[in-house]
C-alpha cells in the first residue's frame, strides 16, 4: 500500500497540496484524476521522491519513505514526454537500471529481451529513441521503468503527448499489461474517460485536495459533490438540481413528478439524440436513444414533460 498522510506542498505562494491523506491499495491500478493544477502530478512526484513535501509523510509498502532519495525508493516512473536517454539504443535504455545495479551481463540481456517482448518492441532493440514513434517511445519508457522490478509503477500523464488514436490503444494495452504484471500502479490523468476505462480505483483531486476516492462505478453513481459529478461525465441542471442528461426522461403527457418543457432543438448524434429544452426559461438538455426520440416525435417548439430521474429511476426505464 502507498499511504500519504497529511501531505502539504507549496510552490512559492501556490499551494499545490493541502494536507492530503490517501491510501492507494497494493496490486491495483489507481488513477489520480483531476483538472490541471489540482495537485495530482505533485502528489505522484512526491511519492517518487522527485519532490519533497513541506510536511506530511509517505509510506510505501509499510516503510516510511518520506526522507528516502528517489534512487532508493525502488519506484518506476514514466514521464509524459518519455524522458528517453537519446544517445542510448532502446536496449540500452531498458538495461540502464539493471546496469546501475551491476547485474551480470547475461541476466541483463535476458531480462531486457523479456521486457521488450512484453511491450512489443523486440524488433526495435537497436534503434535510437529518435527513430521511434511517440507510442513506441512510451512503451520503451514503461519497459525501462519495469526493468528494475519496482515496488510501485508511477505514470505521469503517460498518454498526454500522444494523438487520440494511439492514446486509446495504449490505455487498453496498459490495462492488459497490468493484468499480467500486477505491480501496484498509479497514473495521473485529466481525462475522466481514460480513468474510468483503465483504473480499478480513482482518486479525484482538485484545488490541492482529495475530493473523493472510489471505484469508477462508485464515483459515477454516487458522487460526493457536484464537482465530482460534473467532472466524471456530462451534467445538466433541472430545477436547480444537477442531473445526468441520460437520466432525464421525456414524456409526451404530464405525469406525477414531471415539469413542462419546451423543445428548442433536436440533434441526432448517431445512436443518441440530444434534445435541448427550456424549463421556465432555463436551458437544459436530455440525452435519449433514437427509439425514444422516434416515439416522442418532438419538434422544436413542442411541449414535452420532463422527469429528472435519479440513477435508480434511470435503471428502471432502461429495463
Amino acid at each position: 500500500m502507498i499511504r500519504a498522510t497529511n501531505v502539504s506542498k507549496n510552490f512559492g505562494t501556490f499551494a499545490a497540496l493541502r494536507d492530503v491523506s490517501v491510501d492507494i491499495p497494493t496490486g491495483a491500478l489507481t488513477a489520480l484524476l483531476g483538472p490541471s493544477g489540482g495537485g495530482k502530478s505533485t502528489l505522484l512526484r512526491i511519492i517518487a521522491g522527485l519532490e519533497t513535501p513541506d510536511s506530511g509523510t509517505i509510506e510505501i509498502g509499510g516503510e516510511d519513505s518520506t526522507k528516502l532519495s528517489p534512487q532508493r525508493r525502488n519506484v518506476g516512473f514514466v514521464f509524459q514526454h518519455y524522458a528517453a536517454f537519446k544517445h542510448m539504443t532502446v536496449f540500452g535504455n531498458v538495461a540502464f537500471g539493471l546496469e546501475i545495479r551491476k547485474r551480470p551481463k547475461a541476466q541483463i540481456k535476458a531480462r531486457v529481451d523479456e521486457l521488450l517482448e512484453l511491450v512489443h518492441l523486440e524488433q526495435f532493440a537497436h534503434r535510437y529513441p529518435a527513430q521511434l514513434s511517440g507510442g513506441q517511445r512510451q512503451r520503451m519508457a514503461l519497459a525501462r521503468a519495469l526493468a528494475v522490478e519496482p515496488k510501485v509503477l508511477l505514470l505521469d500523464e503517460p498518454f498526454g503527448a500522444l494523438d487520440a488514436q494511439v492514446r486509446k490503444e495504449l490505455r487498453s494495452w496498459l490495462r492488459r499489461l497490468h493484468d499480467e504484471v500486477h505491480v501496484t500502479t498509479v497514473f495521473v490523468t485529466h481525462d475522466q474517460e481514460e480513468a474510468m476505462e483503465v483504473a480499478d480505483e480513482i482518486v479525484v483531486m482538485a484545488g490541492g485536495e482529495v475530493q473523493q476516492v472510489g471505484s469508477p462505478d462508485d464515483l459515477y453513481e454516487r458522487p460526493s459533490s457536484e464537482f465530482v459529478m460534473s467532472f466524471l461525465g456530462p451534467t445538466t441542471r433541472v430545477g436547480g438540481a444537477l442531473v445526468r442528461p441520460h437520466d432525464v426522461d421525456l414524456l409526451p403527457d404530464p405525469a406525477p413528478g414531471t415539469v413542462a418543457a419546451t423543445v428548442q432543438r433536436v440533434v441526432r448524434l448517431g445512436f443518441e439524440v440530444r434534445v435541448d429544452l427550456l424549463v421556465d426559461d432555463e436551458p437544459t438538455w436530455a440525452q435519449i436513444t433514437r427509439d425514444q426520440a422516434r416515439r416522442l416525435a418532438a419538434r422544436p417548439g413542442d411541449r414535452v414533460f420532463l422527469r429528472a430521474g435519479t440513477a435508480d429511476i434511470a435503471r428502471e426505464v432502461a429495463v
Binding site: 524522458a83 537519446k86 540502464f96
Partner: protein, 249 residues
Amino acid sequence: MATLYLSLIVLIPLAAVVLRSMEDGLSGFWAQVTTPEASSALKLTVVASLLVALINLVMGTLIAWVLVRDDFPGKRIVEMLIDLPFALPTIVAGLVLLALYGPSSPLGVDLAYARSGVVVALLFVTLPFVVRTVQPVLLELDKEVEEAAASLGAGRATIFRRVILPSLLPAMLSGTALAFARSISEFGSTVLISGNIPFQTQVAAVSIFGQIESDNMTGAAAVSTVLLVVALVMLVALDLLQRWGSRRG
C-alpha cells in the same frame, strides 16, 4: 551568385596562398616549412593550441554548467563578461594581459617573454567558445531525463557520466575545435606578451608576419598553408562529430 561571392572572398585567396607556397615545388615548400624558425613556431603554435583547447574544454564546460545550473549574485554580469575576450580587439587583450602579467605585474606574476604567457593569452581569447557552445545545449537538457535516471537508481556522478555528458559531448567538442582553430591563427593577443623570440615564444602567425617583412613571401605562404591544412582537418573532424551527434540525437 553565392558561388561567385564565395569564390572571390574565400576560395581564390586560399588557392593563391597554396599556389604561392608551391612556387619552388613540393621540396621548396618542405624546405620553407622545416627551417628551424618556421618549424619551431609551428610546433609551439600547435602544441600551445592543443593545450589551450583542452584546458578550455574543461573550464568552459564548468563555467557553462555554473551559469546554467547555479544562481549567484552577479550572474548576469559574468554572463556578459564571458563574451568580452571575443568582442575585444585582440591587441587590446594583449595590452591588458601585458599590464597584468608583464614585467611590472601588480600581481607579481611575470609571464612576459615566456611560453606560458602565450598560453595564457590564448586561454583568454578562446574562453568564450566552449562556454557558448555548451551553454545552449545545457539549457535545453530535459530535467526529466535526469529524474528518470535518478529513479532508476543512478547517483549524481553516474547521471553526469552516463546521461548528461553524452548529450553535451558533441557541443563540447565543437567548441573545443573552434577554440583550437582560433588559437592557431591568433596574432594580436600573443604578439605583445610573447616578445616574439624566435625558437622560444614566436607563434606561427607572428612568424608569417616576420617573413613577409623580410620579403620571404614563399616562406610566409608555406607556413600559412600548413596552418590552413591544420584548420581544415579540424573543421572536417568537427563536421564528422556533428553528424555523429545528430545521428544519435
